[in-house]
Symmetry: C2
Subunit: 284 residues, 2 copies
């Protein structure tokens, strides 16, 4: 393994490139971003060693880290412009549609469907940092569809980056991610919007916002260009999640209105169970 | 100033007592908690020097840091059992009702209505830590109703603790807090509940939850005993906030369902403005 090419040099692609460059200086990391400013920043920040649009035909691994609505075309195009010994993998946040589209491609075995569970509310090359992926979970879908040797190179990279591999069906991935990632982005965006709408003439009230508000609203700083396509692509699962959530919000509101202390207490006590589960995760 | 008494030795009361004990070892900090286990923990953790139910009659400052539905009775009772030279202040998260109830009391001038904007998702004496209040905003309502000399003692304590004072009408306080604190607690509790309801048989999916989910759901670990009364006491403002929020969530859901990329983008871009406002706050 000698040549890695990363397309999309934002937070995720940029952090991947940077971490590999530090940990494996023997590799040649090239990359591309269709935003010329981002491409220049990625070079200035040293995220990549070489800027080029197309990967060399003998590139070992090409990583696609662009918004999910661009991945299908980019994947087909990349599979067709690289050789039989090149692995192409994507880092998209939804997996069902892309796996479906890749299924019939003659070079399906050259593709690995991956999703690193890592991110922040920031985006672009300047948001990239070496440790983003360190110790994080990486979900791989339809691993059995990928050539064993090609897959081996990817696993080697993930090991270098100290990632924890999990294997999952793409449909199951999209269902679960709707609840543990996409829903919380939607609730946070709408929290930000609601508070700004109502308080637009009184910016000084944010002085009264504590760390709890900051934490809950943090994801509403996330990139619309990244999140619009994720929400739409996973709309079936996400709408189920949002409907259940809106129903719970409405019931909670009614319990407050009717001063139903017992009902409120019970709901919150149930929600409290998230503590043991997340603490378990953190420990494990 | 010699004697301080703190009633309610949880996160807030306990952190206040501990910080004062460290910064002003000349003061005698006594305290009480009606939960015997908490009272014992507070002593073992050294949050207070003396445990006693009633403050000495010559206590300089009594702090009430119990759930908001207990404050009115406790305030009246404390005002009536302490002398003319004792200041009584509460740390409740809602201020309108309590100020209304205190208004006609003959010892109104002995009362200061205060709300430190500080907290975590943890509660009880074990959650207390010395730096909780350091650098935080403290809101004071109806400052003009409090005796100048008595108020001076409180200001001295807040200065010792490095707090930033803000002055505000109690009704305005409750309206604003509904949006920048109570709403985010409600949304976070319901996020926790929704995800747990749907995923109760698949606890391992939390492995797939990133730091974004953890941040958004953090407040759902908060204490039901503390939050039920806050929600109910501020229900008028909070229900307005929740209705606006639920409406926004429903519109966002519909935009996802109809693949309205432009609408989604616009909503998120609007929510993004929270970044500059919070960053400004952090800098200021």
């Amino acid at each position: 393994m000698k040549k890695i090419h990363v397309i999309g040099l934002g937070l995720l692609g940029g952090s991947f490139a940077l971490a590999l460059k530090k940990k494996r200086p023997d590799l040649i990391i090239s990359g591309y971003d269709q935003n010329p400013e981002h491409l220049q920043q990625a070079q200035e920040l040293g995220l990549i060693s070489v800027a080029r649009e197309q990967p060399d035909p003998d590139t070992d691994v090409v990583v696609l880290a662009t918004p999910v609505d661009t991945l299908a075309d980019l994947l087909i195009q990349t599979l067709e412009s690289t050789g039989d010994k090149t692995l192409v993998m994507d880092f998209g946040s939804t997996k069902g549609e892309l796996c479906k589209k890749a299924a019939q491609h003659p070079k399906r075995k050259n593709y690995l469907s991956a999703h690193p569970i890592a991110g922040t509310e920031n985006s672009g090359p300047k948001a990239a940092f070496e440790k983003l992926l360190d110790g994080k979970v990486l979900i791989i879908c339809e691993m059995e569809q990928t050539d064993v040797h090609l897959k081996g190179m990817a696993y080697e990279l993930f090991e270098v980056l100290n990632m924890k591999l999990r294997f999952m069906d793409p449909m199951e991935h999209d269902l679960h991610l709707a609840f543990v990632s996409h829903l919380s982005h939607a609730t946070s965006f709408m929290l930000g919007k609601t508070v700004l709408d109502k308080m637009q003439d009184e910016k000084n009230i944010f002085d009264m916002a504590g760390s709890g508000f900051a934490s809950t609203v943090r994801l509403s700083k996330s990139s619309p260009a990244m999140w619009s396509p994720i929400f739409v692509e996973n709309k079936k699962n996400l709408i189920d999640a949002m409907d259940a959530y809106i129903e719970n919000m409405r019931n909670f509101r009614d319990k407050i209105a009717s001063e139903d202390y017992d009902g409120l207490y019970k709901d919150m006590e149930e929600a409290n169970k998230i503590r043991e589960i997340l603490d378990l995760e953190k420990g494990g």
